[in-house]
Structures are given as structure tokens and as C-alpha cells.
Amino acid sequence: MSPRLAAAVERLPEYLAWHVLLSAAALMLGVAISLPLAVAAARNARLRWPVLAAAGLVQTIPSLALLALFFPLLLALSTLSEAVVGRGFSALGFLPSLLALTLYSMLPVLRNGVAGVEGVDSAIREAADGVGMTSRQKLLRVELPLAAPVIMAGVRTAAVWTIGAATLSTPVGQTSLGNYIFAGLQTENWVFVLFGCAASAALALVADQLLGLVETGLRRRRRALVWTGAAGLVLGVALALLPLMGFGRPATYVVGAKNFSEQYILAELMADRLERQGARATLKEDLGSAVAYRALAAGELDVYVDYSGTLWTNVLGRTDNPGRQAVLDQLTAELARRDGVRVLGSLGFENAYAFAMRADRAKALGIGSIDDLARQAPRLTLGSDLEFLSRPEWKAVEAAYGLRFRSATTYQPTFMYRALAGGEADVISAFSSDGRIAADRLVTLTDPRGAIPPYDAVVLVSPKRRDDPALIAALEPLIGKIPVEAMRAANYSVDRDAGKLTPAEAARRLETDLGL
């Protein structure tokens, strides 16, 4: 077996267990809510339209957005509950995923529930009244049993949707089969992406077939089929959840990571060091940039790496640039004062926006700084990533140097580097710690006017762990010890096309190389 496939298989029990737990819980909750609603809507025409319209509306929200929306909502609720009853709850991970998926699973059950109950022959309803059933007895003994196959068909659809959409819970911090897909996309590990897709599709198929057995049993009134399907479902869920008995113990430390290779490597590195101290550590990967800091401040993450410029502009809302050390000092003071977050220190490298050119081309044109670039820019083409041109950093550089390019094109990062190599772009907006800078023999231009804020990689510690001796002992040795060249090499070992390492392998190699 290839090492990447082996790495994927190794994670399967944990990812699958969470995926099954999340999907099954959301589906059960969804059915429990939508079935009574469907019955009410089938009996009351005035209720029918608003209920079905609301469920339909939820369905039009992209599922990723629906998941993302629950995080700030729950965070606000948690803050409120902390203020009122003195106890908050986790706004990250399982809860927002569960709620969003529950909403998502409701439409097919509602629709089929209404159709199934309404579809009962009027002669049969009249007979139920005629033999002396109460409204409730009519529902339980006649309408629901007759609507059951149609309702089950709705549950099947809901199950397939829920299992598919559950892969999207990874960015809000819930482990699922989506971890393969998100991590694989970022590190261009297509084995992971395919493995995640295949696992999720297989799970959906199995659930669909078992629910189909129940549906057929209900339709043909064959109890044996119903029980076989139900037993298969229960057994399957129980088996899948088995690994969680071990993972179920709360982790001592939660290490966060955003959604790119450097973040995965550093998170693995920190988790590894914590575990060597005898502590337990789990990773929450693929967090959105804004989600990560808020989750840390709320104590749902214990530690993660962010970048000083990002915190400076996004968290503190600053637009000035007082210099690298001043930014770091003010950030350390401000985050501690505002949120109780501790900036443990800089790892020793920056991951800043930088203008990069092919070395041969820069030499031929005589460009070494952005000042040099500005003079020749009207004859050059800029290639940038998708967001750079709309970020404040670009506005600052543009204003400071009077940069005017002949044209500018945006690319997905991989293709941006290819465009530079192929000559379609003369200069690109790169990240200074990107491994491809060294691999493609690129030069980064200096910023003599200091227009781009510093992006020191800093270790952030949550308020409740700010003085945790084990955590400080494990991570303090990293401060100032990672030069940008080492980080670039580690990033490249994960990003390159051939002979890729996993982030965990890259982290171990980085540690060994630096003698940490």
C-alpha cells in the first residue's frame, strides 16, 4: 500500500466514527422534528405553505454557508449563557454541525410526510371515523402506517443529503470524512481527496440500501425486511462508533490549524511536542481565518499559529505599520488586555505577502525592490491569488509605490506559480514562506518603504491555558527557532507533486533538522 493510502486508512476509524455519529444524530433529530411538523402541516392547510416554504428556503442556502452561519450564532448564545447562568458551551465543532445538518435533513422528510399523510384515500379516512377512531387513533393506526413507505423514502433522501453535507463540517472544527477532502485539496494530496469522496459515497450508499430495505418492508408489509434493515442500521452505527469509545475521553489540549500546509505542519509539530510531554492533544484543522482566533479567545482551541499582520489588521483593525517589533509588542499587549490571549512569541519566520519574480528575469530587468518594480511595472503583468487585489495590503503597496501594471490576472495558487514559470506573469503575489519560492528559484522583492505589514508567525495561547506550565514547557522551545528557509523546505515537502510527505512527516523532519 502506498504511504499516502496507508495514512488515509489509518485515519478512517476516527473520521468515519465522527461522520456516522454526526449524520445519524442530525438525521434522527431532523426526523423527530419534521415528522410532527409534517403531520400538523398535512392537517392544517394554513400551516402547510409556511412550513414547506421555510424548509425549502433552508435548502437554498449553500450547505457550507449554513454550517458557517451557526458558528457566530452559537458563539453569541454561548456568551449570553455565560453571562446569565455562568456557563458557556462549545460553539465550535459538533453543535453547529449538528444543528445545520438537522435543518438540512428536514425538507425531504417534511415534503414526503405531508404528501404521505395527505395521500391516504379519503374512503379509508371515512372508515376510520366511521368505526369510531379518535383523531389521534386515526393518525397512529391508519394515516401514519399507510404513509410510512412514503415517509421512509423521504428519510432515505435526507440520509443521503446529510451524509454528503456532513463532509462540510470540517471547516467549523468537526472531524468528519471531510477532513480528507479539505486537507487533500490544500496539500494537493489527491489520494486523500478521492479517499474522502469514496468513503462518504460508500457510507451514503450503505445507509440508503439499509433504509431502502425498511422502506420496501413497509411497502410490502413484510416485517422481516423492516427488522433486517433496522437491525443493519443499528449494528452499522454501533460498529462505526466503536473507535470513539477511545477518542471519547476529552483531549487535554486542542491544537488549531487554518487551511494550508504550513498550518497543518505547525499544528502537528505542536501536538507532537505536547504528547511527548505526556499530554493528550487533538487537532482541529481547516478552520476559517476568522473562526480560528475567535475559537481561541472563547477557549475552544488551546493553541494555534497565526500571523502578526493578520491579527493587526483583522482583529485590532489597524492600518498603520509601525515596524516589525512594534507590531509584535503592541499585539502582545493588546490581545492580552482585550481577550486574555497570550502571544507566546514569534517562531522566527514571516509568512508575508511578497512580490516574487523568476531570478533570471529579475536579474535581466535589474529589479531587486518594489521601487525598481514600480518603474518597470507598466510593461509587466501581475499574477495574484484570488483575494490579494481586494486586500488592504495591496491598496497600501499601490499607494506607497505608485504601482501600475500593464495587466493583472488572478489565479488559484498552484496555477499562479505555473503562470510565472511559463512567462504568462512577470511577477506574482507570493507568500514569503512558500516552499515553491526556493524550489522554482524565485526572488522576493524587498519593501524599502515598509508598505506591507510584518507577518511574523506567532504562537497564540487561549486565556485558560495562558499560564499552563506543561503547554508552555512544550512550546516555548519553538520560539525564534524556525528560520524561513526551514519552513519553506517543510512546506515544499508537502506541496510538491512528487514524493510528497504528509504534514505529520514534514513536522517530524522539521524537528529533527532543527534539532528541537
Binding site: 384515500d121 374512503a123 379509508i124 371515512e126 372508515a127 376510520a128 371515523d129 366511521g130 368505526v131 369510531g132 377512531m133 379518535t134 387513533q137 393506526r141 391508519v142 402506517p145 399507510l146 408489509r221
Partner: protein, 255 residues
């Protein structure tokens, strides 16, 4: 003699501007077999359904065994009254035995009593006991309506309401079932009110005909009396129809 089983007093029912029942009064004595006849839209089905509360009248009062039906919970009322209708409405997800025993089970009868009742009823309506475990879909139309009658009789009601019960059956089955039911009516001492649009059936089965037109009772009496002195020409025409038919049939068969 005991008081009437059913009493309707100036009962009215409107659907929008249309008066389905326009102040109908009627009393039915124990043991009577009453046929409600009339054209479509005459109000005969509406009248029948006011008796077991499937239709709530908006004027007047309906009493069953002396009790105002508006004051009784509808499901309690209906458990005491047998109800048979054209579409039968057997529950497709239940066996024949479960269908027949449905009202007893609602009344909380124990299993053994209900099972014995199912066997007795299958015998009564001339169905083999083996059909008890079958599904409704496996039976013929005539057999299904026999089950419908058995289900209506299951909780031993004294009163049976029938809404065109044999209307959807072929003539032979219809004839046999009608005659069989009439014998049951006698044997069990039932009071029966049956809606039909078939005058021959009404005349053959019932002791008393109640003729409705546009929400009114236009004639009420035994078939023979009505034929003798009904003043209304339409009623006479209605009553003479089966006799004319019988005569023509006799001529053609050369009897």
C-alpha cells in the same frame, strides 16, 4: 314500546348557499328497516351522516337513543353505530381479522373475546374463516363488502347506517348480499337506515321508504302505502319504476 332510536328535529345543513337539508324531521322506531331514497343531491347521504356525526348539522337536533348527538364525543357515538358505505374503506395494512376487530379493539375488548367475535362474524356474513389472515386486496368486491358489514357489526351495535352499501357490486352479488343482510337485520333485531338510489332494492329490502328531494322529505311510508296514495306525481313515478320494470321483464321472459 320503547321510544324512537333516531329522532331528527328540523335538521338543516348548508354548504355555502346550497341547502343540503332544509329542516328535516324524522323518527325511526327500533327494529325498522328504513330506505332513504331520492335523486343525487336530494340530501339523503347528508341526512344519514348527521346520525353518526360525520356531518354536523347547523340547525335542529339529532337524537340517538334519546341522546343529543351534539353533546356526545363523536368517536363514542360511532362505536355504538355500525356504518357501511359504498367504497367499503377496509384498512389495507390490516388483515381481515384486524379490520373486523377494529372497533372492539378501540373499546378495549380482550384478545380472546375479539377473536371469537371475528369467527362468529365471518360465519354470519358467509365468509370462510380462512380469510381472517388475508389482506383486503386479496378479496373480491363482494367479499370485501361482506367484511365491511362484519366490521360494522363487530361491536354489537343496535343501529346500522348504510350508504349505498351494495352500489358498486355486480347485480348477482348485490342481490345476494342485500337478501343476506335483510336476514341479518331480522335475526339480530337491528334498526337499519340505508341510503340507496335503486328503487327496486329499496322496495325489496326496506319496511319503510323515506323519499327526499332538494333537502325535504317528500314522502314517507311503506312501499305499498306510498304506491297507493302518494299525491306527488314524481314520487309515484319513482315508485312505479320498479313495478314497470318487473312487468316488462316478465313479458320478455314470457312468464
Amino acid at each position: 314500546m320503547a321510544g324512537p332510536v333516531i329522532e331528527l328535529e328540523a335538521v338543516g345543513k348548508r354548504y355555502g348557499t346550497h341547502a343540503a337539508l332544509d329542516g328535516v324531521s324524522l323518527a325511526v322506531a327500533p327494529g325498522e328497516f328504513v330506505a332513504l331514497v331520492g335523486g343525487s343531491g336530494s340530501g339523503k347521504t347528508t341526512l344519514l351522516k348527521t346520525i353518526n356525526g360525520l356531518v354536523a348539522p347547523d340547525a335542529g337536533q339529532v337524537r340517538v337513543a334519546g341522546e343529543d348527538v351534539a353533546t356526545v364525543a363523536p368517536h363514542r357515538l360511532r362505536r355504538r353505530i355500525g356504518y357501511v358505505f359504498q367504497e367499503v374503506g377496509l384498512f389495507p395494512h390490516m388483515s381481515i381479522a384486524e379490520n373486523i376487530a377494529v372497533t372492539p379493539s378501540l373499546l378495549g375488548w380482550d384478545k380472546a373475546r375479539a377473536a371469537a367475535r371475528v369467527e362468529a362474524l365471518l360465519d354470519l356474513v358467509d365468509l370462510p374463516r380462512a380469510v381472517a389472515v388475508r389482506a383486503p386486496a386479496e378479496l373480491s368486491g363482494g367479499q370485501r363488502q361482506r367484511v365491511g358489514v362484519a366490521r360494522a357489526l363487530a361491536a354489537e351495535p343496535a343501529l346500522m347506517l348504510m350508504d349505498e352499501p351494495f352500489g358498486a357490486l355486480d347485480p348477482l352479488t348485490r342481490d345476494a348480499l342485500g337478501a343476506d343482510y335483510r336476514r341479518l337485520h331480522e335475526r339480530l333485531g337491528l334498526t337499519t337506515v340505508m341510503v340507496t338510489h335503486d328503487m327496486a332494492e329499496a322496495v325489496l329490502l326496506a319496511d319503510r321508504l323515506v323519499v327526499l328531494a332538494a333537502g325535504w322529505i317528500v314522502a314517507d311510508g311503506s312501499p305499498a302505502d306510498l304506491l297507493a296514495d302518494a299525491a306527488d306525481p314524481e314520487v309515484r313515478a319513482l315508485l312505479e319504476a320498479p313495478r314497470r320494470q318487473a312487468q316488462r321483464l316478465a313479458e320478455r321472459f314470457g312468464v
